[in-house]
């Protein structure tokens, strides 16, 4: 394994300077954030660079942090370099009021459905996506269910008649 996390960090800061930051290594995986408008540029650089070669997109997902003002939604990319067997994690934060980030579909064909899933559950608007519509939920849905403002049903509620499900009926 010739490509080290330090080297990747060095190359990225050389190229993007202030636009990338927050470097850390939880459980050995290099994690960093990029400015919202730079996600595609950073991924393109990681893809094309002859030393870095992050040419496999493992996963796209999002996380909702309601308490972070103006960067409530984080889009998480996991990238993999097969030759050197290095994985990295790229985070892009976007405000929940206008969660727009650039699509990665031009770079990875697999990003298509992953971004649709992320849109479906978090409402991230991937700018430039060829077919951004819901994938797992019904098309008529009007909200984004994985956001934290939608809690699951309280398991202790007593106003529900569960008799048909063998849970004793009205308490």
């Amino acid at each position: 394994m010739s490509l080290t996390n330090e080297r990747i960090q060095q190359r990225l800061t050389e190229k993007f300077g202030e636009q990338v930051g927050g470097f850390e290594e939880p459980y050995g995986m290099l994690t960093f954030t990029a400015q919202k408008d730079y996600n595609l540029k950073v991924m393109q650089f990681l893809f094309d660079d002859e030393e870095l070669r992050f040419q496999f997109l493992t996963d796209i997902t999002a996380v909702h942090y309601p308490e972070r003002k103006n960067e409530e939604l984080a889009v998480i990319y996991h990238l993999h370099n097969f030759q050197d067997n290095v994985r990295i994690r790229l985070k892009v934060f976007a405000p929940v009021s206008a969660p727009k980030v650039y699509t990665a579909t031009s770079l990875f064909l697999s990003a298509n459905w992953m971004e649709r899933e992320t849109y479906d559950f978090f409402g991230i608007d991937f700018v430039g996506h060829p077919n951004l519509k819901r994938i797992l939920n019904v098309d008529e849905m009007t909200y984004f269910p994985m956001r934290k403002e939608f809690p699951l049903e309280d398991s202790m509620r007593i106003d529900k008649d569960d008799e048909m499900f063998g849970r004793g009926g009205n308490i």
């Binding site: 939880p26 459980y27 995986m29 994690t31 040419q55 496999f56 997109l57 493992t58 996963d59 997902t61 996380v63 909702h64 998480i76 996991h78 097969f82 067997n85 994985r87 994690r89 990875f108 064909l109 697999s110 298509n112 459905w113 992953m114 899933e117 559950f121 819901r134 994938i135 797992l136 939920n137 019904v138 269910p145 994985m146 939608f150 699951l152 398991s155």
Partner: protein
């Protein structure tokens, strides 16, 4: 002859559609699962395809945000339900990595045995169903006997067959019984001959070869771009295997090869899966050998904070009662952290992206489901193929509806 067109009254200036729209699924016996493909066909040729998923979406990621860690294991069962133990182990390994727990070697090897049995069960279904889709039912009913035996082994170990919920964070719930070992040995004794016969039935079978060669092929570069992993990527010629690249559960102690194909078509996927079954048999044999040198009463790590104490101790000992209560109520301390851990599932890289904020449930849990990611290539794979090729292509990709929808 009567001209059909004279009966159709189309508005002035409209174009006549020459292709037929065909709904393949959602509940079609040949799709082996609940997903739909809207095919546009011209005679027998597929002009375009559109895949629709989500028919059995169960919101596991949301449910997981309310559950203590040990209650998430049954959710993972229902991802790839043809090889549930791999999903279970993947989840345990993720949590153990988050908590920094070290497993004894014996637990690792027992897990390897279970995971490889699950891989065989999964590949066996996929390949024999490919036979069914080409019209060869014999191999299917023959191999099913041995999936049954694998399920009996699960049953001896954990009590259930399909959705296994096998093992715990920190090891296994109980030691393997002598009956379980006997069944594993019986499987190792009998299965190789059966697999050989199965290969004799299909591998050089003219009809099977004609039906699968050159069907649904994809080159390595496109397969990588489409996010293929597992046997489907290896069939296209990329020797990527998580067991080798990021070894977990002591896979580095085993000697096995990673079979690769060249063209990435249905036939290559079949060959790769068959070759992997042979490798899995060899890995199980090696594990059985390695286990001989280890104490045979170790089946979990010594981590009382996370591993349930024996029930008789709960009734008689104070500490055991406290630990039991804390674990069952989900009151154990989990370190905050962020982790991505992947295992080689039967279909490819099965990843768990877990964010813990120190609470009783994960703050966020995301499953990287290999099926979901590579299924989007299906439309491209079948474009220009015959309708019957679409069926065989679907079964050779080994699409599992549970894994598609999570």
């Amino acid at each position: 002859m009567l001209d059909q067109k004279q009966h159709v009254k189309l508005p002035e200036g409209s174009l006549e559609k020459t292709t037929t729209t065909l709904n393949l699924g959602p509940t079609h016996p040949a799709t082996h699962g609940v997903f739909q493909n809207i095919l546009e066909i011209d005679g027998e040729r597929i002009v375009s395809a559109e895949s629709t998923v989500g028919y059995i979406h169960r919101a596991f990621e949301k449910i997981a945000e309310r559950r203590p860690y040990y209650q998430i294991t049954p959710l993972t069962d229902r991802l790839n339900y043809c090889s549930s133990p791999i999903n279970n182990m993947g989840w345990h390994l993720t949590v153990e990595k988050l908590l920094g727990l070290e497993m004894p070697k014996r637990v690792d090897y027992m897990r390897v045995i279970i995971m490889e049995l699950a891989r065989i069960a999964d590949h066996l279904i996929c390949n024999s169903v490919m036979g069914v889709d080409t019209g060869a039912l014999t191999g299917f009913v023959y191999l099913m006997t041995y999936r049954e035996l694998i399920y009996e082994i699960y049953e001896e170990i954990c009590g259930s067959r399909l959705t296994t919920n096998i093992g715990r964070v920190g090891g296994f719930e109980r030691n393997f019984t002598p009956a379980a070992w006997a069944k594993i040995n019986r499987f190792l004794d009998e299965y190789p001959a059966v697999l050989q016969e199965f290969e004799k039935l299909l591998t050089r079978n003219r009809i099977f070869m004609e039906r699968t060669q050159g069907v649904g092929g994809i080159d390595a570069k496109r397969a990588m771009s489409y996010g293929f992993t597992g046997p489907n990527l290896r069939a296209a010629g990329v020797d990527f295997d998580v067991r080798v690249s990021n070894p977990y559960s002591s896979y580095q102690d085993f000697d096995f090869t990673v079979p690769v194909g060249t063209t990435g078509d249905c036939y290559d996927r079949y060959l790769v899966r068959n070759a992997e079954m042979w490798e899995s048999i060899s890995i199980i044999r090696q594990a059985m050998e390695k286990l001989k040198g280890l104490p045979d009463d170790v089946f979990h790590a010594d981590v009382p904070d996370f591993y349930l104490p024996p029930k008789q101790d709960v009734y008689t000992k104070m500490e055991a009662l406290i630990y039991h209560f804390k674990i069952v109520m989900g009151e154990t301390d989990i370190v905050p952290g962020e982790i991505y851990n992947a295992v080689e599932g039967a279909n490819g890289e099965l990843g768990f992206y877990l964010i813990s904020d120190g609470g009783r449930s994960p703050y966020r849990l995301h499953f990287r489901r290999p099926c979901f990611i590579y299924y989007q290539a299906y439309a491209e794979l079948v474009q220009g193929a015959m309708l019957s090729d679409a069926i065989i292509c679907m079964s050779s990709l080994n699409l599992i509806a549970g894994e598609l929808d999570a």
